[in-house]
């Protein structure tokens, strides 16, 4: 969850890219790292296998000036998508303030998309949170390929909870849809942060030490 440091006037938020294996999570971070303004980014670090499959996570710090008087740091992570790495996904998901679920639009990948989304729901629940309250957006990736499901079908399959979430079509390898997704999830995370820290659900005053 968010961390506020009034000493250094910094806010830290964590966003995790989630989805089935080879759906394009790492590509999203690579493209962001390539295309974002230099003053906003740190190094992209990948803990990957020799075959370039994510083994633990990818990590990239981003900085934005979006909250007056504070430097806002976003810690961007990806999880390993392969089914066997579920424990690793749980560890990386700890304390996430927002999630991007990246789906692979290709027809043969539908079952993996559904399994991965169910796995996300379960892992969020295990850390005491819920997709009803945790900000997340969906990204339907690989739209440039031939054998892809229509957007409506992906919506039916993955965006069918009581409250529908923002979703974006993308071709991450070409950078299409990547920044739209990033900005949408960042905005949702910031909105939730503002609501939580200045909103209606204030804790009782007797617990406050000023």
């Amino acid at each position: 969850m968010a961390f506020i440091n009034y000493g250094s006037r910094e806010i830290q938020l964590k966003i995790v890219y989630y989805g089935p294996g080879l759906c394009g999570k790492t590509t999203n971070l690579q493209i962001i790292h390539e295309m974002i303004s230099p003053q906003s980014k740190g190094d992209l670090t990948s803990l990957a296998t020799a075959q370039d499959r994510t083994l633990f996570f990818d990590f990239m710090p981003l900085v934005a000036d979006v909250i007056a008087g504070f430097k806002t740091r976003f810690q961007m992570y990806t999880v390993p998508g392969q089914v066997m790495y579920n424990m690793t996904r749980r560890l990386v998901l700890r304390g996430a303030d927002g999630v991007v679920f990246v789906a692979d639009s290709q027809w043969p990948k539908m079952e993996e998309n559904v399994e991965s989304f169910a796995n996300l729901e379960e892992n969020v629940r295990l850390q005491g949170d819920s997709l009803d309250t945790l900000p997340y957006v969906l990204q339907y990736n690989k739209r440039d390929l031939n054998d892809v499901a229509p957007r409506n079908y992906l919506e039916f399959l993955l965006n069918n909870r009581a409250e529908r979430q923002l979703s974006f079509e993308s071709t991450a390898t070409r950078g299409e849809g990547v920044f739209e997704t990033l900005n949408a999830v960042a905005r949702l995370v910031l909105d939730r942060f503002i609501t939580t820290h200045t909103g209606r659900e204030r804790q009782p005053r007797e617990l406050v030490l000023v």
Partner: protein, 162 residues
């Protein structure tokens, strides 16, 4: 667990870390939470605190799972020993850890001796911060979002020479 640290909390944390550096002759140290957020750091001249924090939290969490696999509950200290530089990670609580970086001129034993003491002091500060709650500074700080739709912007295209 979300932390809100006031300048007073940060001062206390910083004093603890500074003392640890002096006592253990370590090069640098940092406190981070399980999400990989940097709570405070001292003495890190060249290393990125954000990256150290992300990797340290990941390693410590993975080691914790190994401990549970062995029925150990947790490994309270994790040591990675190199030829010239080493890293020691010590649990502050279930939610935070302290990472100490030291060179071969410092003694592993001394670092191992002082790190848990520093961790206990850090734990006290974080408990204090938790009791203060997430609105500890809200009377003096209002969070105002900028109007811009784009939180992040694309890099400016390189100027084409005329």
């Amino acid at each position: 667990m979300a932390y809100t640290l006031t300048p007073q909390h940060v001062d206390k944390l910083h004093r603890i870390l500074d003392d640890l550096l002096v006592q253990s002759e370590a090069e640098g140290c940092l406190v981070c939470d399980q999400a990989g957020h940097v709570l405070d750091h001292a003495g890190l001249a060249t290393q990125s605190p954000q990256l150290l924090s992300a990797l340290g939290a990941g390693v410590f969490a993975a080691t914790g799972e190994l401990a549970r696999l062995l029925g150990e509950g947790e490994f309270s200290i994790v040591l990675h020993e190199g030829n010239r530089k080493s890293i020691l990670m010590c649990a502050v609580s279930e939610e935070a850890l302290i990472t100490v970086i030291f060179s071969d001129s410092a003694s592993v034993g001394i670092v191992k001796l002082y790190a848990p003491t520093a961790a206990a002091s850090v734990r006290g500060v974080l408990e204090e911060a938790r009791e203060a709650g997430i609105y500890a500074e809200s009377e003096t700080a209002a969070f105002v979002l900028s109007d811009s739709d784009a939180v992040f912007k694309l890099a400016e295209p390189a100027a084409v020479p005329s």
